[in-house]
Symmetry: C2
Subunit: 259 residues, 2 copies
DNA sequence: CCCGGTCTGCTCGCTAGCGCACACTGGCAG
DNA sequence: CTGCCAGTGTGCGCTAGCGAGCAGACCGGG
C-alpha cells in the first residue's frame, strides 16, 4: 500500500469513512473513480496511483492561492473544487469547477509554476494528490496521460468560453439554476451545502440577487433550501429554468470525453 | 523555395506587396515574424516553415466555421484574427484574438478536429498556414513546438478568464478603450479598420452603446474615427480610460512569453 | 448630379441588477 | 434561558445598458 506513505502530516486513509476507503481499494485494483485516471491504460494508471496520496478535502479549504507555487496537483474523487479569479476590488468570480471528471493543476501541465486563480474546495470529500515533480515526470513519460489532459483542456476552454457568454447575457435566475445543476452533478447528490452569499460571490452578483432568484425557484418547488443546505427537488424543472448553457456544457462534455 | 509549392489555388507570394515578400524572405533566413515560430530552434523552425504556405488574409474572411473540420492552422504575421463564439440567438461574442504572438487552430493541438468558434479575419495581412496532417506530425516530432504552444495555451486561458470578468463587471466605455488598444497592438499601427457595428457585436452590446462610448473617447481627443477608420491619438490617455484588464493582459503576456 | 447604401448620432421608455440599510429567524454556545 | 450570529427576506432609489426606431452625413457608382 505505497499510497499511504508520505501522508504522515495529513488526514490519513485510516481516518476516512468506510465508503471512501473502499473506493481507494477499488482504485488500487484499477477502477479509479476519477474519469481522467480511469481512461488511462492499466500500467500507466498503476504507476501514477503509486505516486498519489489520498486526502480528505474540507469545505472551503484553499488549495491554491494566486501566484503561490503549486505544490500538488489533485484528482478529485468525491470532492469538487471551485476556481476563483480575483477581480481586483476584493470581489471574486468563478471561472471553473473541477470534479471527478478532471484534475486541478493545469498550469503545471502547461509549464507554469503558479496560477492566477484561487482554488477552493466547494464540495468536501476525497481526492488523490500528487507532488509537482513526480507529476511532471509522469507527464513526460505517459503519452496517454498527456492525451487525456489535452482533451480535458479542450473541455475546460470550451466551458470557459460558454461561461463568459452566460455571465454576460443571461438572467440571474437562469444562471443560478445552471449553477445549482452543475453543483448537483459534481456532488452526485440531491442535497449539498452552499449559502446565498457564497453562491453570489461565485456568480459575481449581490447576495440579494441570489436570494430573489433562489426564492423564486423555491416557490416553484424546483428546489428547497434552508440555512446553507440546498436540495434539488425537480431536476427537470430546474433544467427548464436554467439557460441553455447547461445543456451546451453537458453536450460538450459528452462529445469530448464521452465514449 | 519550397514554401511556394501548393499555393496554386491561392493568392501567391508573387502577388504580395514588397514589404510582405521581404518578410517571407527574412523568415526563410530564420527570423520569423511570428513570435511562436521565432521561439523555436532553427532546425525545427526551418522544417515547419517548409510545410507552411504564405497566404494573404482579407478583412472579414472566415477561416473557421463552427463544427466544420479544420483544414489548416495559421500563424499570423501581419494579419490578426478574431475568435467568435455564437450565442444561439444569432448574436455573437468575441472570446479571443490571435495575432503574430500565437496561432490559430489550438483545437487541433488538443486532439479535436473541429472548434465551436468562428474565426474571422479582423486585420488583413499575411499569415503562414499549414495543413492539419503535417501539423499534427510536426507536433509529435518537435518538443519545442509543443512547449511553445503550451505556453501560448496558458496565455489564452488566462486572457479568456480575464475577458469573462471584464465583460461582466466593467463599464462599456472602458471595455471599448481596452478593445481598441488590443487591436492597435495586433495591427501595429495607429489607424485600423472597424465600424461601431462590428465592434459592438464583438463586445456583445448594442451598436448605440459603442457609438456613445466611442463618441466620448473622441471628445476627449483620445481617438478619432470616421466611417470605419479608427485612429488612436493618445495611447496613454486611452490606457487610462481602459479598465485594468488591458494592463493585466499585457503583464501576463510578458510573464508567460517574455523570456 | 443624384441615388442608394453605409456609417454615425440621437431619442424614449424600460428593466435587471446595483448599493445600502434594516428586520426577522432559527440554532448553537455560554 | 439568554444572547449571539449566520443565513435569509425586503424595501428604496439609482443607473447602465436594452430595444426599437428614425435622422442626418458621407461616399461611391451610375
Amino acid at each position: 500500500m505505497s499510497m499511504l506513505n508520505g501522508a504522515a502530516n495529513n488526514r490519513l486513509l485510516a481516518a476516512l469513512p468506510n465508503s471512501d476507503r473502499q473506493r481507494i481499494v477499488s482504485m488500487l485494483n484499477g477502477a479509479a473513480d476519477n474519469r481522467l485516471l480511469a481512461a488511462l491504460p492499466n500500467s500507466d494508471r498503476r504507476r501514477i496511483l503509486a505516486s498519489c496520496e489520498p486526502v480528505e478535502l474540507a469545505l472551503a479549504e484553499e488549495l491554491y492561492a494566486p501566484w503561490v507555487p503549486l505544490r500538488f496537483i489533485y484528482f478529485p474523487i468525491s470532492s469538487f473544487i471551485s476556481l476563483i479569479m480575483p477581480t481586483g476590488d476584493s470581489g471574486a468570480f468563478e471561472v471553473g469547477m473541477v470534479g471527478n471528471e478532471g484534475m486541478l493543476g493545469i498550469s503545471l501541465v502547461l509549464g507554469a509554476e503558479v496560477s492566477s486563480q484561487r482554488a477552493v474546495v466547494q464540495g468536501a470529500g476525497l481526492a488523490l494528490r500528487m507532488e509537482a515533480a513526480p507529476f511532471r515526470r509522469e507527464l513526460r513519460r505517459s503519452k496517454a496521460l498527456r492525451g487525456e489532459i489535452d482533451r480535458y483542456l479542450q473541455l475546460r476552454m470550451g466551458q470557459l468560453a460558454q461561461a463568459t457568454i452566460c455571465a454576460h447575457f443571461h438572467l440571474l435566475e437562469a444562471r443560478v439554476a445552471r449553477r445549482l445543476l452543475m453543483t448537483q452533478d459534481r456532488s452526485r447528490a440531491n442535497t449539498f451545502r452552499g449559502t446565498h452569499e457564497v453562491l453570489a460571490s461565485k456568480l459575481g452578483v449581490r447576495r440579494v440577487g441570489v436570494t430573489e432568484a433562489a426564492s423564486s425557484l423555491q416557490q416553484r418547488r424546483l428546489i428547497h433550501y434552508s440555512r446553507g443546505d440546498i436540495t434539488v427537488l425537480d431536476r427537470r424543472g430546474l433544467m427548464a429554468a436554467a439557460c441553455k448553457c447547461y445543456k451546451a456544457d453537458r453536450e460538450s462534455y459528452d462529445r469530448i470525453l464521452g465514449q
